[in-house]
């Protein structure tokens, strides 16, 4: 019996999963023709996706050595940096990746705004995008506490106090965030659970909807001036 060819293997899988339809819809779709800086602006969403994937992978690796407890958090983070092979590098990627993620998401939002890509029929994509932005900020806020050093502790003290200034509900919100009247052991476990369980779940669902809508509507053309002149191809 001869070995099956690549084409035969592909057809066998395709008949049973229909993956070519999905592949074509996602990767063979038509996108606007653009060049120069305008073309680059279209890459910002994908760039955010890439850094997010990097955060998920490096975050999972960090979680293998991190302990979310007030007496071990600080030392476990030191340990990652000093005693785990490539630990400092992995942590560095996650640390700088967190800031870069915010930069990219803001840049992506700016391109959508400046090109008017949020207009009909893409309002839903924009609204889900706003939620994605808030989740990314949530990742940054909760992750910042985890090293449990002076900077982390006081930044969170300030952050939860700001939440506490909200009229009427502020006091309750601050207590719910801190897991009690004062910052302490439950604050760290709460932030950890939000950072590695709740927010990844939420961002997964939101990203799914966001990308579905992107593919469903197709990518918008760059804006052109009235009368057809100007624009990126003008």
């Amino acid at each position: 019996m001869r070995a099956p060819t690549m084409t035969e293997v592909r057809d066998w899988v395709n008949e049973r999963t229909g993956f070519e339809t999905v592949w074509n819809a996602l990767l063979e779709r038509h996108i606007p023709e653009a060049k120069g800086p305008v073309a680059w602006a279209y890459t910002l969403g994908s760039a955010s996706m890439f850094v997010f994937t990097l955060q998920a992978v490096t975050g999972a690796l960090l979680a293998m050595n991190y302990v979310p407890s007030t007496d071990h958090a600080y030392d476990s983070v030191r340990f990652i940096g000093s005693s785990v092979l490539m630990g400092g590098f992995i942590r560095g990627l996650h640390h700088y990746g967190a800031s870069f993620m915010v930069v990219l998401v803001v840049a992506h939002m700016l391109r959508i705004y400046l090109m008017g890509s949020y207009k009909y029929p893409r309002e839903g994509t924009w609204m889900v995008g706003v939620l994605l932005f808030l989740v990314v900020i949530g990742f940054g806020f909760t992750g910042y506490l985890l090293p449990w050093d002076q900077k982390a502790y006081w930044a969170t003290a300030v952050g939860t106090n700001i939440a506490g200034q909200t009229p009427v509900v502020g006091g309750m919100v601050a207590k719910i965030l801190k897991g009690g009247a004062d910052m302490g052991a439950p604050t760290l476990t709460r932030f950890y659970a939000l950072h590695v369980l709740v927010l990844p779940g939420v961002i997964g669902v939101l990203l799914g909807v966001h990308l579905f809508l992107v593919v469903w509507h197709g990518i918008s053309e760059p804006p052109t001036r009235m009368g057809g002149k100007g624009g990126s191809r003008g």
Partner: protein
């Protein structure tokens, strides 16, 4: 929407079709289950908002050991609970009594927090840092402190003197 023949016939006859009935059942039961689970999870999540945060009472000795006259400096170990973490801190307090009531002072001067001492000859508390003087009731006699000595809540339970080492500001 129920749209096959049996449904249409049953509904035309003024009844509830099997499909409508089952749909309503799923919505009602599913709603009840979601509401129950949702309320349970939500109350777990927001419970810190309703938790009372009270300093534990600390047993600092037999009440009958504290005699009227000179205030007594008592050393004790205060346990502070932070959820499942308990930290112990060495601490002290000045206890004075008239035989019935107990007054317990925070051992830190209300000026800048130095530990003051009792001067038996003058019957006054003296602070070494900036020469503050307080009387036996904790009132400022002279010096820079902005308020009388802070106090700790105290009570006697079964002959033991219990205090709450949390300053009650400027209580006179």
């Amino acid at each position: 929407m129920p749209n096959d023949e049996a449904c249409v016939r049953e509904e035309a006859a003024g009844g509830v079709s099997r499909r409508t009935f089952l749909t309503a059942g799923i919505v009602v039961l599913g709603g009840a289950i979601s509401a129950l689970l949702g309320a349970t999870g939500l109350s777990y999540f927001i419970s810190p908002a309703f938790k009372k945060d009270e300093e534990d009472w600390v047993d600092i000795g037999r009440a009958s050991d504290m005699k009227p006259g000179a205030p007594l400096k008592v050393d004790f170990v205060a346990r502070k609970r932070d959820a499942w973490v308990v930290t112990e801190k060495r601490s002290s307090a000045w206890v004075s009594t008239d035989g019935k009531e107990f007054t317990v002072f925070d051992p830190r001067c209300t000026h800048l927090g130095c530990p003051y001492r009792w001067d038996q000859a003058r019957e006054q508390f003296l602070c070494p840092c900036h020469a503050a003087v307080f009387d036996a009731k904790g009132q400022v006699v002279s010096g820079p402190p902005p308020r009388p000595l802070d106090r700790f809540a105290a009570k006697v339970v079964e002959g033991r003197l219990l205090i709450q080492p949390q300053a009650i500001k400027g209580a006179a």
